[in-house]
């Protein structure tokens, strides 16, 4: 009898545990992250100073950085922002961002606000997963005034409904810079290369001599960026880039100089001057940081922050990065292009509002936006608290106080309204001031892919995968460059390239950008 009772109890326990997952979790139920932040809300909230009921909002973030505080108690920014706005802002880091966000939105578990690009904003608006914010426009007028009216543009709208808050998004495409090891140039007594032939000689000599003593690599970069250093001298970038030339919509893949560009790129590849690890996003950058690579293309922020310069100097105290001006063009009448950037440089990610987010929370977020759009709020998101983290020097310039650089490292996560990038970088990263000024002189390729609305039945991703694969095949010599025209024909025949370009022409003409 005793055994039967025991088995009965055991069965009940197992049944309950089986069915535990069937309970419906309501959207308003706090997530683990929210629960964790409830503790300081109860204990730390300065209830006397702020009479209104505090409110907690959750905001998605693609990544918080290595120096983000591990606990809310250690997060001085969160506390200060609360004291100023009466709003607890909880940042929710999301890896593999859009896929995870899709799943969270589907499951009703997404944060209250999340950054989205134009494509995803249209998709989410179409699915009813985000809510329009037209009626709040007056509430965030101070923030918009601070930003400038030009930031209230088409990338925030879907069919006349505003779905995202304006934001002065830093365009990381414009961060791309061509680097060269100045100490190696000096070692050889060479001048800064002006043509890709001189650049080839420099890379080849460095690799042959193993000038760094670390199994020297010629060119480092992420993915196609290294090859584009050379292709750019023919006025093209390697990939499916929709551009406008003489008022007509075209594609870099159709450029008559593409074959010559591929031939020039192949010469570097055949001489083993390009890092074999460029396809692995992290490895090639690490090679550059430790000084194994003598030249390359990378965003300045990947190499010139003080921490990375320290790594470089730990390996070789004499190592020094120099910056390459655009190489001379190889085609008469065509200007060299350096990397590319999207049409409407402010087309990056803006904050959209979860369809489930309450009006109270939206108003709380607007309160935060309006605060960080004041001079005080701006400096808080740039450099922290005056007197604690930064102060003005004798010349009236804001400078970070000694030993505070790590403490303010993560404040950029809270720049929900964006920033004036040039002004911000000059103040926060004085070590990269020269590089940031240098990169503004590049002539970059303007592409329009980001504003195109491409239907799923054109299988754009499949075409882009094929394009990348075949461009690599040409560069690696797996397919002769003489077959380039046949490759383009394959795009037309198999991948609907004609329909894609017709659609691009139609949409860009409708937008008044092309004839």
């Amino acid at each position: 009898m005793k055994r039967k009772v025991m088995s009965l109890l055991l069965v009940c326990c197992m049944l309950l545990s089986c069915l535990a997952g069937c309970g419906k979790q309501t959207v308003d139920q706090p997530t683990d992250a929210t629960k964790a932040t409830d503790a300081p809300k109860a204990t730390d909230a300065p209830t006397e100073a702020v009479p209104a009921e505090p409110i907690t909002i959750t905001i998605a973030s693609k990544g918080l950085g290595n120096l983000f505080p591990e606990s809310d108690e250690a997060n001085w920014f969160r506390q200060v922002l609360f004291e100023k706005t009466n709003v607890w802002v909880d940042l929710i880091p999301i890896d593999d961002y859009y896929t995870a966000l899709n799943v969270q939105l589907t499951g009703g578990q997404a944060p209250d606000f999340f950054p989205v690009d134009y494509d995803h904003m249209k998709e989410y608006a179409d699915q009813g997963l985000i809510q329009p914010i037209n009626q709040y426009k007056e509430s965030f007028a101070p923030m918009l005034e601070w930003l400038g009216e030009e930031y209230d543009n088409f990338v925030l709208y879907v069919e006349d409904e505003m779905y995202a808050f304006p934001r002065a998004e830093a365009n990381s495409d414009l961060y791309e810079l061509y680097f060269i090891r100045q100490d190696v140039l000096d070692h050889y007594g060479m001048e800064m290369p002006k043509t890709i032939d001189e650049f080839f000689d420099f890379c080849q000599k460095s690799v042959q001599d193993d000038v760094t003593g670390l199994q020297t690599i010629g060119i480092g970069a992420k993915k196609f960026a290294g090859y584009n250093m050379i292709a750019g001298t023919y006025g093209v970038m390697l990939g499916n880039y929709v551009v406008i030339k003489d008022g007509k919509v075209t594609n870099t893949l159709l450029d008559t100089n593409m074959k010559d560009a591929l031939t020039a790129v192949k010469k570097f590849q055949d001489a083993n001057l390009v890092s074999p690890n460029i396809w692995d996003a992290g490895t090639a950058v690490v090679e550059m940081r430790k000084g194994q690579t003598v030249a390359g293309s990378a965003p300045w922020s990947n190499l010139l922050k003080q921490a990375y310069i320290d790594v470089l100097h730990a390996v070789n105290p004499d190592a020094e990065w120099g910056y390459i001006p655009a190489f001379e063009s190889n085609v008469e009448g065509v200007e060299t292009v350096v990397a590319f950037y999207d049409y409407n440089s402010n087309s990056g990610e803006k904050f959209a509002v979860n369809a489930e987010t309450s009006e109270e929370k939206i108003n709380a977020f607007i309160k935060v936006l309006n605060y960080i759009a004041t001079d005080e709020g701006k400096m808080l998101t740039w450099l922290g608290v005056q007197g604690t983290h930064w102060d003005y020097d004798a010349n009236g310039n804001a400078v970070v106080l000694e030993g505070q650089a790590d403490a303010i490292n993560y404040t950029s996560n809270y720049q929900f309204a964006g920033r004036n990038d040039d002004e911000y970088l000059a103040v926060k990263f004085p070590e990269a001031a020269e590089a940031n000024e240098f990169r503004t002189h590049y002539n970059r390729l303007l592409k329009y892919n980001n504003v195109l609305d491409v239907p799923a039945d054109l299988y754009l991703e499949d075409m882009e995968t094929y394009v990348q694969d075949q461009l690599i095949a040409f560069i690696q010599g797996e397919r002769p460059i003489e077959e380039y025209d046949a490759f383009v024909q394959e795009l037309y025949d198999i991948y609907n390239f004609g329909a894609y370009m017709d659609l691009a022409a139609e949409q860009l003409t409708d937008m008044g950008l092309a004839k």
């Binding site: 055994r3 039967k4 088995s7 009965l8 055991l10 069965v11 197992m14 049944l15 545990s17 089986c18 069915l19 997952g21 069937c22 859009y98 896929t99 899709n102 799943v103 939105l105 589907t106 998709e123 699915q127 009813g128 997963l129 199994q215 690599i217 993915k223 890092s275 074999p276 690890n277 396809w279 692995d280 490895t283 369809a355 799923a456 039945d457 299988y459 991703e461 499949d462 075409m463 995968t465 094929y466 990348q468 694969d469 690599i472 797996e478 198999i494 991948y495």
Partner: protein, 314 residues
């Protein structure tokens, strides 16, 4: 009139009731397992209906309109210009992993069972099981250290003996071999457990008799061990065929990059990026459903075939 004809025949429901009453504690203990299966495995099957609808998150399954035509999302997969290549990649990797995964595990199990140095066997077994517990992200990190073109241990060795580096992780020609090889390394020890269990269960007297008859070690393996574990080999083969269209999403997703997309992209990674990544859940479900139907046909077919050798699962 025979006795049998006048005895009232017990209905199967009656038999069932009797068994239920007699063994009720056992049936009761079976209940949570049944509930688990029904709640988590059978009820969600109803969700496959979205393969035939244009599923929209906000309006839910029932509010979403039916696809027109009903097989639209199945066709979306087959109309993709990349589908031939990814189906080919999926089958090549699956068959490769199946064959190259099962046979070395069998050989490894035979070697372990024949080794008489027990402490050595224990160490080898433990070491061989360890990779099974590593995630693919960790294994990719190890692979980079070992197989990278310029800094990998293997390639540095090859170069040091005058050979050329092999782009294990960055060549369309080699990546499938790398994927199969790393899968083998990860699963070799773990995969041998079933075979070892089967070998241990073989009657020792058979070996003694064979020894008396003058059989050497290889003859004993050939005439006793292999025939005795044939059934378990076929059972594993049947079960593995059920996953023949799952070429290992986690592994492939970690190892994939632009350089090797052509040879590495499989159905699951394609569905992940085009389906889940684009909120096209109907497409994901349609492809998942199609895979399940094909896998069921394969399992049933192989089981029928296995019946010829008296090794069927059911």
């Amino acid at each position: 009139m025979s006795v049998a004809s006048i005895t009232p025949k017990k209905s199967s429901w009656g038999k069932c009731k009797k068994a239920l009453f007699k063994w009720w504690p056992l049936y009761l203990m079976m209940l949570p397992g049944l509930v688990y299966l029904i709640v988590y495995k059978y009820v969600p099957m109803a969700g496959t209906i979205i393969a035939f609808k244009n599923y929209r998150v906000k309006v839910g399954i029932w509010g979403s309109p039916w696809a027109d035509p009903w097989y639209k999302h199945f066709m979306d997969f087959f109309k993709s210009p990349a589908n031939v290549q990814i189906i080919k990649n999926t089958i090549t990797l699956s068959i490769g992993k199946l064959l190259i995964g099962l046979i070395p595990s069998l050989i490894f199990a035979l070697a372990i069972s024949e080794c008489r140095n027990k402490p050595f066997v224990r160490v080898v077994q433990t070491v061989s099981y360890l990779p099974h517990f590593l995630s693919w992200v960790v294994i990719y990190g190890i692979s980079q250290t070992m197989l990278s073109m310029n800094t990998g241990v293997v390639n540095r060795f090859l170069v040091s003996i005058g050979l050329e580096s092999i782009p294990f992780l960055s060549s369309n020609d080699v990546i499938q071999g790398t994927l199969i090889g790393t899968d083998l390394w990860k699963g070799l020890g773990w995969g041998s457990i079933t075979f070892l269990a089967a070998i241990i269960g073989i009657d020792k007297e058979l070996y003694d008799a064979a020894e008396v008859d003058g059989c050497g070690r290889f003859r004993r393996i050939w005439h006793i061990t292999l025939p005795c574990i044939r059934r378990i080999f076929i059972v594993l083969l049947v079960l593995k065929l059920g996953t023949v269209l799952d070429a290992g999403f986690n592994q492939v997703y970690v190892f994939m990059n632009e350089r090797v997309n052509r040879s590495a992209e499989i159905i699951d990674t394609w569905v992940y990026t085009r389906g889940i990544g684009k909120m096209n859940y109907s497409l994901s479900t349609a492809v998942g459903l199609m895979k399940s139907v094909i896998a069921s046909v394969l399992v049933i077919g192989t089981n029928k075939l296995a019946r010829k050798w008296d090794s069927a699962i059911w």
